[in-house]
């Protein structure tokens, strides 16, 4: 059975992809449809769900929730994906070097990696915010750093394992250049693991960004962040819980879809991968 | 060789799950007599291990399942016993030794703990007494310093020692029967001889009966009293080792024996049996060996041969050699 057909049979992958697509479409199309996210209308105050003209209602400042929420999706996704993309590239680079070159370079890299790896993301982000100030930048830095390290760690393990494998030893024996071995043999074998791992870390990044915005660090007003919206609506739960619930559902949907895709990919690609990814996911 | 201790009757075991349905072991029957070593010999994949596991219902179920047949022991059909009753038989009346001792022992516990656990699963004794019994079993299995091994873990032992530990585990509750599934396959040749030696001793000194699963004809020749030859899930011939080796009746057995290279023979090339073993899903009608048989006749392709019993031997063939 080809990879594609197996993919279609994998329930998690299918469910996750559908959900993700729905959310992404919302994020892309939403702001167009719903208009500006910072248009205030102080007199109108809280409008409930389903008000004509304001599909999800409005928040305390009269801003349209639908506009804000869908824009918030964009923010979450952009942050998460760009951070993860960066982390994957950097992490793979570091991991490749550590695992391929081995020796003292590896020991030095591993030292730092092992230390940073176990750190809770939020703590690092808060510390970054303490040093740099609030805003998206510390979030991106913190999340990027920890993710890079985590990916580096797994990639290093994989590369170490691969270099023992016969086909790599054979390539060395055949006199192939380092870049050839890396490009043709090692990287293609590491990609699946990195892929699955990055889906996990996209989910982590989404939650981290939302959590930070929730406590006040992270995206600053008027830029809407889903986490911040949840926080804003906190005081009005009795009045109109949708203000917090809708952004919450959206975050949940994003994270769930990414997790499902990640799990599905993992099952699909190789049962052997499971141990490496699980160990790494034990954060 | 007096009475029948264990009788396998028309046993069929196969895969029956998620759309797949085929038998790997088909309608086999054999008897184990008292105080004998019965070898079940055949190529890899012929179903001999599965047969051994099925006797105590240890096959991986799902997906493997016994489709029909019975295993008679002590007047009862083991396959029909409820879980609790079967537990009393396993390890106490019938024990089993497995092929790879290193992976067959729990890596988190010491040899001693594994043994005493087995003892206390069947005997109501205190810890000290269980230890005594275990140490004695280790000695019986031929281990020189039982005390020392008692406190060691499986990964600290060599292949030969760990196999002896398995034997001790099998002996610890004084069973009547031992089923040994390829006990020497994973071991060095010198160690093999020692283990077989030990098994032989168990038969002679303790009057045990042993079912010895193997693919090695040399092993059969050195220790077994009787042999059952399996091919592609069926037993094609049974008889005393002497009879079968001197004059095999089934063409497959004959081919097997002929394929063993002998030192000093003038033959210039190895005699192999042409063709290949059929997959369990593509079993031909008629005799399963017919496609590869030298002595094949028309009826062989159509009708599955019945078991021809000639005295102490039996053969399943339309055209046996005699």
């Amino acid at each position: 059975m080809t990879l594609f057909r197996r993919a279609r049979r994998n329930k998690q992958l299918v469910a996750g992809t559908i959900l993700a697509t729905m959310v992404i479409v919302l994020g892309i199309v939403g702001p167009w449809i719903f208009g500006a996210y910072d248009k205030q209308n102080l007199l109108a105050g809280h409008k409930p769900l389903g008000t004509p003209g304001n599909f999800f209602g409005t928040d305390a400042l009269g801003r349209d929730l639908a506009a804000r929420a869908t824009y918030g999706i964009r923010i979450s996704l952009i942050v998460a994906i760009s951070v993860t993309a960066l982390a994957v590239v950097l992490g793979m680079g570091i991991g490749l070097v550590a695992g391929y070159v081995k020796g003292r370079v590896d020991s030095a890299i591993s030292l730092v990696v092992d230390f940073v790896w176990g750190f809770p993301l939020i703590l690092v982000a808060v510390l970054a915010a303490a040093s740099i100030g609030s805003g998206l930048l510390p979030v991106i830095l913190a999340v990027g750093l920890v993710n890079t390290v985590a990916i580096a760690r797994v990639v290093r393990g994989e590369v170490l394992g691969l270099s023992e494998k016969d086909f790599v030893v054979a390539a060395h024996a055949g006199g192939y250049s380092t870049s050839h071995i890396l490009l043709r043999h090692i990287i293609p074998n590491v990609m699946p693991v990195a892929f699955v791992l990055s889906s996990y870390y996209v989910a982590v990044a989404i939650i981290a960004e939302a959590s930070l915005s929730f406590v006040g660090l992270g995206a600053q007003p008027p830029t809407p962040s889903l986490g911040q919206m949840v926080s804003d609506g906190r005081n009005f739960l009795r009045l109109n819980h949708w203000e917090s619930t809708i952004p919450g559902i959206l975050i949940f949907a994003m994270v769930l879809s990414v997790s499902l895709i990640g799990d599905g990919l993992r099952d699909l690609l190789d049962p052997r991968l499971r141990t490496a990814v699980e160990r790494a996911s034990a954060k | 060789m007096t009475g029948v201790l264990l009788g396998v009757e028309n046993l069929s075991v196969g895969v029956h799950s998620s759309g797949l349905s085929y038998d790997i072991v088909r309608d086999i029957s054999f008897d184990l007599y008292q105080n004998e070593i019965l070898a079940v010999v055949g190529e890899s994949g012929c179903g001999k291990s599965l047969t051994a596991l099925s006797i105590l219902s240890l096959q991986s179920s799902p997906p493997l399942r016994v489709t029909s047949g019975a295993v008679m022991f002590g007047g009862r059909d083991l396959l029909q016993l409820p879980r609790t009753e079967l537990r009393k038989v396993r390890g106490k009346e019938i024990s089993m030794i497995f092929q790879d001792p290193m992976s067959a022992l729990d890596p988190m516990f010491t040899v001693g703990t594994i043994l005493t656990t087995a003892v206390r699963a069947h005997q109501q004794v205190n810890k000290a007494r269980a230890e005594e019994i275990s140490l004695a079993a280790l000695a019986d299995a031929g281990i020189e310093d039982p005390r020392r091994r008692f406190g060691e873990y499986a990964f600290q032992l060599s292949g030969g020692i760990s196999q002896r530990v398995m034997i001790a585990l099998a002996l610890v509750n004084n069973p009547k029967v031992i089923i040994a599934d390829e006990p020497t396959t994973a071991l060095d040749v010198t160690v093999q001889a020692q283990i077989l030696e030990r098994l032989l001793m168990l038969k002679k000194d303790r009057g045990m009966s042993i079912i010895l699963i193997t693919h090695n004809l040399g092993v059969v020749a050195s220790v077994a009293d009787r042999v059952a030859v399996m091919y592609s899930g069926e037993i094609v011939e049974t008889g005393s080792v002497a009879d079968v080796f001197r004059g095999a009746q089934h063409p497959y057995t004959h081919g097997l024996l002929r394929a063993v290279p002998r030192l000093g023979s003038a033959a210039k090339s190895l005699t192999a049996i042409p063709g290949r073993v059929p997959q369990p899903t593509e079993i031909p009608a008629g005799c399963v060996f017919a496609p590869r048989c030298e002595r094949v006749t028309n009826v062989c392709h159509e009708v599955r041969p019945a078991l021809l019993i000639r005295g102490p031997s039996a053969v399943r063939c339309h055209n046996p050699i005699d």
Partner: protein, 306 residues
Amino acid sequence: MRVVLRRTLTMLLLLLVSSFAVFAAIRLSGGDVTAARLPASASAEDRALFRQQVGLDKPIINQYFTYLGKLATGDLGNSLTNNARLSTLATEKIRNSLILGGSSMVVIFALGIPLGMLAAMRRNSWLDTGITSVSVAGMAIPNFWLALISIYVFSTLLGWLPSAGQGGIRYLILPTLVLSAEGIALTVRMTRSAMLENLGQDFVRTLRAAGVSERRIHFKHVLRSSLMPLISLAGLRVGQIAGYALVVETIFGWAGVGQALVNAVLRRDYPVVQLFSLLLVALVTFGNLMATVGYTLANPRLRKHQ
């Protein structure tokens, strides 16, 4: 054992380095300390004098070691917000966080392991599917949202539990559950997969053949092997909880280290940020170390350093 010692030393070293990094970052970035402590009318010279007196004009490294020295003697400084002595503040907050964090750890493993075992033993049944799905969902819910939902449901709607503050078991329940949620889900999944993997191993068949009961096989043998990855998980979880506590404590108004740190960052109360981030970093490092050490001790193969 040597590996463990070496690990501990490197961890301590890195701890030192990272605490210095935090220290430096905060000092370098921070706003003007004088703005908080001196009246607005103070002149530039006054400010310079003040900085000199407080020691802010010396090189960062010196400042750091002075700070460490002070820590060693127990002088933790004062909060910029209300000039409270940090030592008293810290003890109180630490105690609260320990109560919350400790309860969470207990709940995570007291619930997670049995549920995971149950799911493994009743594999593919409705129970298993149910437990597994809830775990997947549990890991996807952002904890702050879970906190809000639980407050809404249990406090606002049902009125069973208080929504914030401290003062008894009733106040502890919701925050603990929210803090443990992800940990429970993860533990369930790991226990289940470890048990399933071990159940397929050869040694289980040997034990069955020896007549050992299924119950004993599951609880004594398979569980023991499955517990090993959980030890690493526990150590790492300590760090994760420290992180999540920042958010959870804030939402539930639980006066612990996490809430204090977040508020301090928002208010730029540097001494507090310094101390509490140091504490948390130390805790996380300790947890990670325990994870490694624990794994080595639990695995007989590693213990005998063969």
